[in-house]
Symmetry: C2
């Protein structure tokens, strides 16, 4: 591997580790267990799981990988706070969404070249990108890895 490839592989590995960690947290929980709040009055596990799926789904257009796979997740888990809407999807459906979205992302990451990674993401203009080359696809990956860890840390506080 060239140094560039090693660096990119390290970043993808770091993302993958956090996704696997979240898998361990959420997969296998029952619908009942998913109702647990991470702390009194705070988000339920079901909400965080759907929220993470929705945020990861939105990475697809942001990275230029096409449309979201499950755009309906946004209304339930991005624009609406937890407990403000009825009828979140059941565990089996959330599991499928989570798997679909992360599978699609990881497959695409394996095909990105170094120049894809340092290329601009779709939410920044050519001008703004010229002024700030850190607004690249890799920065999206790093920021979403941090976002994922942030919420995994919260799930660790949920009463068992």
């Amino acid at each position: 591997m060239t140094p560039e490839q090693t660096i990119i592989a390290s970043a993808i590995h770091s993302w993958k580790q956090q996704v696997e960690r979240a898998d361990k947290v959420f997969s296998g929980l029952t619908d009942h267990q998913l109702q647990t709040e991470v702390a009194p009055g705070r988000n339920r596990l079901v909400y965080l799981w759907g929220h993470l799926s929705a945020v990861h789904d939105a990475m697809l257009p942001l990275l230029g990988l096409g449309d979201r796979l499950h755009p309906e997740l946004a209304a339930a888990f991005l624009t609406t706070p937890d407990k403000a809407a009825d009828g979140l999807p059941p565990a089996a459906e959330l599991q499928r969404h989570w798997g679909d979205v992360n599978g699609r992302l990881l497959a695409a990451f394996g095909n990105f070249t170094v120049s894809d990674w340092v290329g601009k993401h779709t939410a920044v203009s050519d001008e703004d990108f010229a002024a700030n080359p850190l607004r690249n696809r890799l920065s999206v990956l790093l920021s979403r890895t941090s976002h994922l860890s942030y919420h995994i840390g919260q799930t660790a506080l949920a009463p068992k």
Copy 2:
């Protein structure tokens, strides 16, 4: 910037963002406020702050940057769980440690070359590193960035 340099700059930027986020959480809290548990029966803010300082301090030898600046933090915040020992340092001292350690790291990051970043960290043998080149300094940075986000997520749950 070359693609390599852009990639490295993106990773350092991501680390810096999380450090600044933690600054906003902890700096300016009183000793009294730092006693708040992030959730019932869980770690206090004071412990998380010291824990993060201790983990970041330990990055210095791990990255080949010399000895830890505050080795005494390890006993209080790494090997001992919260509330098992009396007399954690006061806020003013924790603030100093946090600033020292992160300042030292950030200065060093600015001097690392791409080949420093893809070089092995000090806790892996030459043989193991040859078998797995992802055990490099950059992976330490990425994993500590995730660790930091993990705990920042927890601080967001603390009652205000």
